[in-house]
Symmetry: C2
Subunit: 140 residues, 2 copies
DNA sequence: CTATAAACGATAATTTTTTTCCTTAAATAA
DNA sequence: TTATTTAAGGAAAAAAATTATCGTTTATAG
C-alpha cells in the first residue's frame, strides 16, 4: 500500500491528506498493529511536534470512516490496524506479537444463530498463546 | 450461587468476606455481565457510601484471583462476570444485551496452531449482532 | 475478647481521552 | 497561480477513567 493509494482512500472519505495521517497509515502498514502510544512515537519521529491529540483525532475519524479498525486485546492496550478482510488475531503472551490468521467463521456464526436466535453481524476472535520464537527461547 | 459459596470462594483465596464484595458477586450472579458503573450503582444501592475505589480494588483483586473475569467488547465498556467454563459472547448491537454461548473452540485452536506455530492457551470470542427481541421490535 | 492485617471511604494523584480555540495548511475554484 | 474556504493541526485545558495514599474500620485468627 503506497502513499498514493492511502491518499486516494482518504480523499474517497472526504478526509484531507495530511502528512500526519499518511504517517499513521504508513506505520500501520509497516508494523501491522500498533497501540496509541506506538503510533504517537512513530508519528513523532517524523514530525517531532505532532500533538497526541492529533493522533487521537485521526485514528478516531479514520476508524469511523472504516479505514482503520480497533482491536481490543484481553490483557493489553487496544491496537489499531488498517482495515481489511475479517480475520482472527493471535496474541503472544510472552512478547506481545500479534499475528493475523484467516479463518472461516461461518460455523461459529451458524451455531450461535441457531442456539440464540441472534442475527450475527460480525465476530471478534482473539487467541492468546505463545509464538514460535518465544517457545524456542523458553526451551532454553 | 448463594452467599455461603461466595464466602467460601473468597476465603479459599485468602480474601476477606466483606459486604461490598458479596454484593459485587451477587450482582454479577444476578445480572451476568456488568460494567464498572453498573457494579458501582448496584453496590451503592445496598451500601450508599461505598467508594468507587472500593469497587475498582475489589474487581481487580477478585479478577487477579480468578474469581471474576473481564470481557472486552468491541464497541462498549468492558464488563465483568463470575468466572466459569470458557464460553463465547453474543452482544446485541441494539440493546446491549450480552448472552453466553457454549462452543467448542478446538477446531479454531487446531487450525490456528497449525498455520501459525503458536501454542494457544485461551480464546476470546465476541459475536456482535441483533438479539431476538430487538429483531422483533425492528420489524414493527 | 483481643490483636492484627486486610479492607474501607475519602481524597489525591495519575493516566487516558476528549474538547476547545486559535493558527496553519490542504482543497477548490477563480 | 493565487485567493478563498474549511478541515486539520498544535497547545492547552477539561473531562473521564483508573490507581494510589492514608487514616479509620472491621473481618478473622488466636
Ligand atoms: Mn489484524
Ligand atoms: Mn460470559
Ligand atoms: Zn512471542
Ligand atoms: Zn437486543
Amino acid at each position: 500500500m503506497d502513499k498514493e493509494l492511502i491518499a486516494t482512500n482518504l480523499r474517497n472519505h472526504h478526509l484531507k491528506v495530511t502528512p500526519q495521517r499518511l504517517k499513521i497509515v504508513e506505520s500501520l502498514n509497516t508494523f501491522g498493529h500498533l497501540n496509541i502510544d506506538m503510533l504517537y512515537q512513530e508519528v513523532k519521529e517524523a514530525y517531532p511536534n505532532v500533538s497526541l491529540a492529533t493522533v487521537y483525532k485521526n485514528i478516531a475519524i479514520m476508524t469511523e470512516n472504516g479505514l482503520l479498525e480497533k482491536v481490543k486485546l484481553p490483557e493489553s492496550k487496544s491496537v489499531f490496524e488498517i482495515r481489511k478482510e475479517p480475520h482472527l488475531h493471535l496474541h503472544c503472551s510472552k512478547c506481545g506479537k500479534i499475528e493475523d490468521i484467516s479463518f472461516d467463521t461461518e460455523q461459529i456464526r451458524a451455531h450461535a444463530e441457531a442456539v440464540s436466535g441472534y442475527s450475527i453481524q460480525s465476530s471478534d476472535i482473539v487467541l492468546r498463546g505463545v509464538c514460535p520464537a518465544c517457545q524456542t527461547n523458553a526451551k532454553k
